[in-house]
């Protein structure tokens, strides 16, 4: 909402500085989002005296003038005004000046003669109606600013009006607030209408067929008007609040809307068939062309203003082409109605309109203000367009407004606010915005809210009024008195926090990606058609195709982020994300939301350095990370198995694993298939880890039981086996463990080798076994015997040989 200080001053005596007024309005709930000087554009328009006038060598109607602009350096300007003459003091707009019509003055050659700026008329400067010639200044000296010579000063405020305060979508509404914050009185414009001719009931009627959509409709008629441009004062007022003048009749409707907040519509009465108004809902499929030339197909929820035969306006939203005010209009019917906010909102939304009128109607106009606004419009139309008023108004009001008293207990208000205001103080605060309160008893304020305050219906609404008018700054600051107890942390949240910290300690950076992805993402991940991750939840109104569905995997975000990083030359990428994935459910309105942990590794395991050569990341880097994760969480017994079909479609077969614990799938890890990488614009190898956070939590022990470290020394023995390449290392380790010898503490692979001199199809695998007894130090002899025994068992079991 844009208001100008000079317009506000018509209604309230404001002596505060614009900055102070802005501050006080803001602190009363009318947030002033911008303040600017209306005539700032005139800063580069200066008084200039004509020193010489010569005919333009190339154009009959133009003169070449030299001007004294107070700088001591005369300048040359080309001017076409009839009144340009020697000695005249006029207004020179210097190059760069932006004139109200949107034109910017440039230094340019006019028919071959360089013109330094432009001598302007009052109309061109937006300071007056006269466009017959350039401005003639009576006083002043060359170089002085026009704005100060003409006493032009006005400040414009842009106010962010919250949806609950439609009363402040008008100058009078803002003025009421300004009066309250200034401690001044509000003066309303006087409405005096001449006695009209005839009687309105004799020439027209209003029939409301849909009273729940239109509880009230006021109409007035003026005959014999002359449609034409508005007088300067009216144009000036509209321009000051950012509205475009159209013609005197339409301008008056807009002026009154800005002044009172009541949107009006003016019909060309002679274009209304049968000369009457019918308010009804549209028929499904009915077509209608609005003022802006757009044809709309209507439905039965749209309220229409009709004449005796056809729709003539989309009620509360926009008038129709078929009845609009035109240069030949002679008789005008003024509509001033109260429409149901919900009805207007639905229509405007469904048909894609947002107009000044619909904005106000959907928030709620003053149901008691229709008649006054119609009279105000009639008064002004008679003033600016002539004509003869038809006596009387039609006030169709099938559902009269029923004001409802609101009672507030002063002590309750103080309890809510933490204040100690007296009933009288509260009453005075309310009265400052025309909320007159009765005090039936010493603790009760009874307010019947006026029609313009549609937001007040319960006691708390009055509490808010008291609070904002008292000033939030004046309310004390206290500490809430509640029993102090620190609630225990939520295990699921603590667990996720722990996971994040572990991932960071493992050298991963946390990523946060949008929860929505493109609809074809599951396909781009290489998932089969029956994969559960195909069950995406679609967003009905996505901002783009890339954000059309909710993600079912964290991988797409990480892959895309990795691709971007590699393109940005961050070639080694270690990212993780912990967040939700969403699965649509056929039998429930809300999807299943599941927390997942995913990580991606790509590029080099370590950057090349003076210690060692760069090593590309491989499967075992990711496996090492996840094993460290398990170790941090004290999770034991996780099996790494070849994924079952459908478990890891995104990963390269043979280079991936499923992680299982007690036969429950925790997640998968491995190399992402190159074609999947390519689908996300990633051109290098990448390795994925994706786990279900709750599954992981379910196997994480809550408590750790301490076991004392061993008291006796360990003995290490190594053994190297030459065996078939296809034998997984885990099987050999498992074989050793299965022997369950109490002295075997652990077994570890410390070398794997293929190639010469090892025979083809074979590999050499070196194990290190730790032997320890818990009751004494083992002798060499004891260990050697056991080690030989284990070696023989392995040789037999796997058909292995010693080197």
């Amino acid at each position: 909402m844009i208001v100008s200080l000079s317009w506000l001053r018509q209604f309230v005596d404001i002596t505060l500085s614009p900055a102070e007024l802005a501050h006080r309005l803001t602190m009363a709930g009318l947030e002033v989002e911008g303040v600017w000087e209306r005539y700032a554009y005139l800063d580069s328009v200066k008084a200039a005296r004509v020193l010489s006038v010569a005919p333009h060598p190339d154009a009959q109607n133009l003169a070449v003038c030299t001007l004294d602009m107070g700088s001591g350096q005369p300048c040359t300007v080309v001017c076409g005004a009839p009144n340009v003459r020697l000695g005249l003091l006029s207004a020179l707009a210097l190059p760069g000046t932006e004139l109200p019509g949107g034109r910017t003055v440039a230094q340019s050659a006019i028919r071959g003669v360089e013109s330094f700026g432009m001598l302007c008329s009052a109309a061109e400067l937006g300071t007056g109606p006269d466009k017959s010639g350039i401005l003639e200044l009576e006083k002043g000296a060359p170089g002085e600013k026009i704005a100060s010579l003409l006493n032009l000063a006005d400040t414009v405020f842009e106010i962010g009006v919250t949806p609950n305060r439609p009363d402040c979508l008008s100058l009078l509404g803002v003025a009421r607030e300004a009066a309250a914050v200034c401690g001044a009185k509000l003066a309303r414009p006087q409405i005096i209408l001449p006695k009209g001719e005839g009687a309105i009931e004799e020439i027209t009627s209003v029939t409301i067929d849909a009273p729940e959509h239109c509880p009230r409709y006021v109409a007035r008629v003026i005959r014999n008007i002359t449609v034409g441009p508005s007088p300067f004062w009216l144009v000036d007022r509209l321009l000051s609040v950012g509205l475009r003048p159209i013609n005197n009749i339409v301008d008056v409707t807009n002026f009154v809307m800005m002044e009172t907040g009541q949107p009006l519509h003016a019909f060309d009465f002679d274009l209304l068939e049968e000369g009457r108004i019918v308010v009804r809902t549209a028929q499904d499929g009915e077509k209608f062309i609005t003022l802006d030339g757009k044809e709309k197909t209507l439905s039965s929820s749209n309220l229409m203003i009709c004449d005796g035969k056809k729709p003539v306006a989309l009620a509360g939203v926009m008038g129709g082409e078929n009845s609009e005010i035109n240069p030949n209009t002679k008789t005008v019917l003024i509509e001033s109605a109260y429409f149901s906010p919900m009805s207007i909102r639905k229509t405007a939304k469904n048909l894609g309109y947002h107009t000044d009128a619909s904005h106000r109607f959907e928030r709620g106009v003053d149901p008691t203000g229709c008649s006054a606004a119609a009279a105000r419009a009639a008064q002004l139309m008679l003033e600016v367009a002539g004509g003869v008023l038809v006596e009387g108004e039609i006030d169709a009001n099938p559902i009269p407004w029923a004001p409802k008293e609101v009672r507030l207990s002063a002590s309750r208000a103080n309890a809510i606010l933490g204040t100690g205001l007296s009933c009288g103080q509260m009453r005075a605060l309310l009265a400052s915005v025309e909320l007159e309160a009765k005090t039936p008893d010493s603790d009760t304020l009874a307010v019947t809210p006026p029609g313009f305050r549609v937001d007040i219906s319960i006691p708390e609404d009055l509490v808010e009024e008291i609070a904002r008018l008292f000033g939030y700054d004046n309310i004390p600051v206290t500490a809430p008195m509640l029993p102090m107890e620190i609630p225990p942390p939520r295990p699921a949240m603590s667990f996720r926090k722990k996971l994040r910290n572990i991932m960071v300690n493992l050298g991963f950076f946390e990523a946060v990606n949008y929860s929505f992805v493109a609809a074809d993402t599951p396909a781009r991940l290489g998932l089969s058609a029956d994969d559960p991750r195909q069950a995406t939840l679609a967003v009905a109104n996505p901002l783009s195709e890339d954000q059309a569905v909710m993600r079912t995997s964290l991988l797409p975000g990480l892959l895309a982020a990795t691709g971007r990083n590699v393109n940005l030359q961050n070639r080694s990428v270690r990212l993780f994300e912990l967040g939700k994935v969403f699965f649509a459910r056929a039998n429930a309105p809300l999807p299943e939301e599941r927390f997942m942990l995913a990580a991606i590794l790509s590029g080099e395991q370590k950057p090349v350095s003076w210690h060692e050569k760069a090593a590309p990341i491989d499967f075992y880097d990711m496996k090492g990370a996840v094993q460290a994760l398990f170790e941090s969480l004290k999770i034991k017994d996780v099996a790494f198995a070849r994924p079952a079909p459908g478990q890891a479609d995104t990963l390269l077969p043979g280079h991936c694993a499923a992680m299982l614990c007690q036969n429950k799938l925790l997640g998968i890890l491995g190399q992402i298939r190159p074609e999947v990488c390519a689908n996300f614009d990633l051109k290098q190898k990448a390795f994925l880890l994706e786990m279900d956070v709750e599954a992981l939590r379910s196997i994480t022990p809550d408590a750790v039981a301490f076991a004392p470290p061993p008291r006796f020394p360990a003995v290490l023995r190594d053994i190297t086996l030459i065996l078939n390449k296809s034998v997984p290392a885990e099987e050999i380790l498992e074989k050793v463990r299965q022997m369950k010898h109490p002295w075997v503490e652990s077994v570890w692979v410390f070398d794997v080798y293929e190639g010469k001199p090892i025979e083809k199809g074979k590999k050499s695998l070196s194990l290190r076994i730790t032997y320890r007894a818990d009751d004494r130090t083992l002798t060499d002899g004891e260990v050697n015997a056991l080690h030989d025994n284990i070696g023989k068992t392995l040789l037999n079991a796997f058909g292995a040989k010693l080197p």
Binding site: E31, I475, R490, A540, L568, N570, R574, P589, E593
Partner: protein, 333 residues
């Protein structure tokens, strides 16, 4: 043969050696092939036969003792000498160990939550895809009400939305818990808006405190405490009347600009104030919708945008950086 004298002289000289040169000289002098000890050894045959054995043992013991001393002093001297002149090039970079980091948004969210947890708030969470009832209607956003325009909403269907705020947790919490309630709800929220100052997904922390006799003054107290913990004890705070359907009275909360300290700058558009929070007293309709008796209890709620706070904290110039996951950005936190 005066072994004792030799021992005391040799020990004295060896132990005062200041550098390896002096030590070597002492070593040669006492233990060298032509040194004093060897000299005595060579003279053993000159002794009476019954004394030879005893002398030999004593000299051998002394030799061992001196050698140990020599080694001890050598270690000491060479230790300090190494440090002085033949150490490592410690300027060479260490062997790289990857160091990750938590996303700045989650760091800030954690920090905010920690402050409220210290103030006794419980942390709750809930679905990001939400029923209209929880996101709007129960929060006193009637259907087809202009207040819904305040939040550009992503819809899944007619009555399922991507939550536009974590205020939905107010309803979910109060529906399942009798008063008093003291919770914060951190999480992701979604709005159908994308430009320099908006991303379609961002993070919020919502707070709710409901109980007997909770007042607007208490709201000011709680928020003042939070702001001062988050931004420092001298940070001024200002509440301005505003409108949210689920609170009344409602307030926007400004803090004194942390960049210019109130004198006015680009970040605060010259006002000296930064809007960081929305808040207010819980609207009676909200209580009614969760079955609380608003004549018995009052409460306040507040919500803050995590990105906004993170931008101020770190001086991040563009909101969108938080979701690009550029390692050059992430590694700074």
């Amino acid at each position: 043969m005066d072994i004792e004298r030799l021992k005391s002289e040799a020990c004295g000289q060896i132990s005062v050696a200041k550098d390896l040169d002096e030590l070597n000289q002492a070593s040669v002098k006492w233990l060298g092939r032509k040194g004093a000890l060897s000299d005595l050894m060579r003279r053993i045959p000159e002794l009476e036969p019954d004394l030879r054995r005893d002398a030999g043992q004593k000299l051998n013991a002394l030799k061992k003792e001196l050698e140990a001393l020599l080694e001890e002093v050598r270690t000491r001297i060479s230790g300090s000498a190494l440090a002085l002149d033949e150490g490592l090039d410690i300027s060479l970079p260490g062997r790289p160990v990857p160091a990750g980091s938590i996303h700045p948004i989650n760091q800030v969210m954690e920090e905010i939550c920690d402050i409220f947890v210290q103030m006794g708030f419980d942390v709750v969470e809930g679905p990001e895809v939400e029923l209209d009832w929880y996101n709007f209607e129960a929060l006193n956003f009637p259907p087809d009400h202009p207040a819904r325009d305040m939040q550009d909403t992503f819809f899944v269907s007619g009555d399922v939305v991507l939550r536009t705020h974590t205020s939905s947790l107010q309803i979910r919490t109060m529906e399942s818990t009798p008063p008093p309630v003291k919770v914060i709800a951190p999480g992701k929220v979604y709005r159908c808006d994308s430009d320099v100052t908006h991303t379609p997904m961002f993070h919020q922390v919502e707070g709710l405190l409901v109980g007997d006799g909770i007042s607007f003054a208490d709201l000011k107290g709680a928020l003042t405490l939070f702001v001062q913990k988050m931004y420092g004890p001298k940070t001024p705070i200002r509440l301005r009347p505003s409108f949210f359907p689920f609170t009344e009275p409602s307030a926007e909360v400004d803090i004194g600009c942390v960049i210019c300290k109130g004198s006015g700058c680009r970040v605060c558009s010259g006002t000296g104030w930064l809007e960081v929070l929305g808040s207010g007293m819980v609207h009676p309709n909200v209580f009614k919708n969760v079955g609380y008796d608003s004549s018995l209890i009052t409460g306040f709620a507040f919500g803050l945008g995590v990105e906004r706070i993170a931008m101020l904290k770190y001086g991040v110039d563009d909101l969108r950086r938080f979701f690009e996951n550029d390692l050059r950005f992430l590694s700074q936190f």
